[in-house]
């Protein structure tokens, strides 16, 4: 059973890491857009 849970946990850990990477990039992009707006 531990192998089964390890596989499922690993799957979601990989997906969550990728989603976190996307969210971080979105946040950085939003900050850049705000900065551009302020400069104008």
């Amino acid at each position: 059973m531990s192998y089964l849970y390890a596989a499922y946990i690993a799957t979601w850990a990989i997906h969550i890491c990728y989603l976190a990477y996307l969210l971080r990039r979105y946040a950085r992009l939003r900050a850049q857009i705000e900065e551009l707006k302020r400069e104008r």
């Binding site: 059973m1 192998y3 499922y8 799957t11 997906h15 996307l22 551009l36």
Partner: protein, 229 residues
């Protein structure tokens, strides 16, 4: 897509929950391997999803080479990233399943090796996209994507034409599967496909937006350097 996104997100959540319930509880226990066989419900759909997104990457890359459409290039990049994520899941869950069943984590079997090569090709694709600043990068990446896609049918058909450690296909390859297991497998495939579409669309949107921001920043700095002081 903006209107469809929340509906697809809800559908994905429902399918993933139902798929998890089916995989861990509803599906019958396989006689030889026992409960560890339930890894199948995440391993196989992840492989199918990875193949689908590598195919999408190929189509977008060919469209980019033919029309030089930057949106096709952005879609190719998004599809490759999603494909690599799902291929990583396959390469991680495979050895976790192999250890209790075969007694080993890894073997240089044809299918396993070709899958690793496939993953390495697309990781190289992403590294090229990330670190090359040449104007020709999208063209080089599109050509690499075409060569990478050639490995997908090799991975898929390797167990049809060669004797490998990896089991024979249960669908379309002469094997059989319990209808309840097939149902859970297809639900999980639908769930991961919907999830992958959502993630791919988000990544595509992010790429298009970041390119627009980069262009605006470049234009602003040009205007600043050209303005009288």
């Amino acid at each position: 897509m903006k209107r469809v996104f929340p509906i697809l997100a809800i559908l994905t959540a429902v399918l993933l929950t139902y798929g998890l319930y089916g995989a861990l509880i509803a599906a019958p226990t396989e006689k030889t391997m026992g409960d560890v066989q339930r890894i199948f419900y995440y391993h196989v759909p992840s492989a199918w999803t990875a193949f689908t997104f590598f195919f999408l990457n190929l189509v977008a890359s060919v469209v980019y080479l033919l029309r030089r459409n930057p949106k096709a290039d952005a879609l190719a990049l998004a599809a490759a990233e999603v494909g690599v994520v799902f291929c990583t899941v396959v390469l991680v869950t495979g050895p976790i399943w192999a250890r209790p069943v075969w007694g080993i984590w890894w073997t240089w079997d044809l299918r396993l090796t070709l899958t690793l090569v496939l993953w390495l090709i697309y990781v190289s694709y992403l590294v090229l996209r990330r670190f090359s600043s040449s104007g020709q990068t999208p063209v080089l990446a599109a050509v690499l994507a075409i060569f990478g896609a050639l490995d997908v049918p090799l991975v898929y058909f390797s167990i049809w034409f060669f004797r490998t450690q990896h089991p024979q296909p249960v669908i379309g390859g002469g094997g059989s599967i319990d209808p309840r297991m097939l149902h859970v497998l297809l639900i999980n495939w639908a769930a991961f496909s919907c999830f992958a579409i959502l993630v791919c669309w988000s990544r595509y949107h992010l790429e298009v937006l970041s390119r627009e921001v980069e262009e605006t920043q470049a234009l602003e700095s040009l205007l600043e350097s050209g303005s009288p002081r």
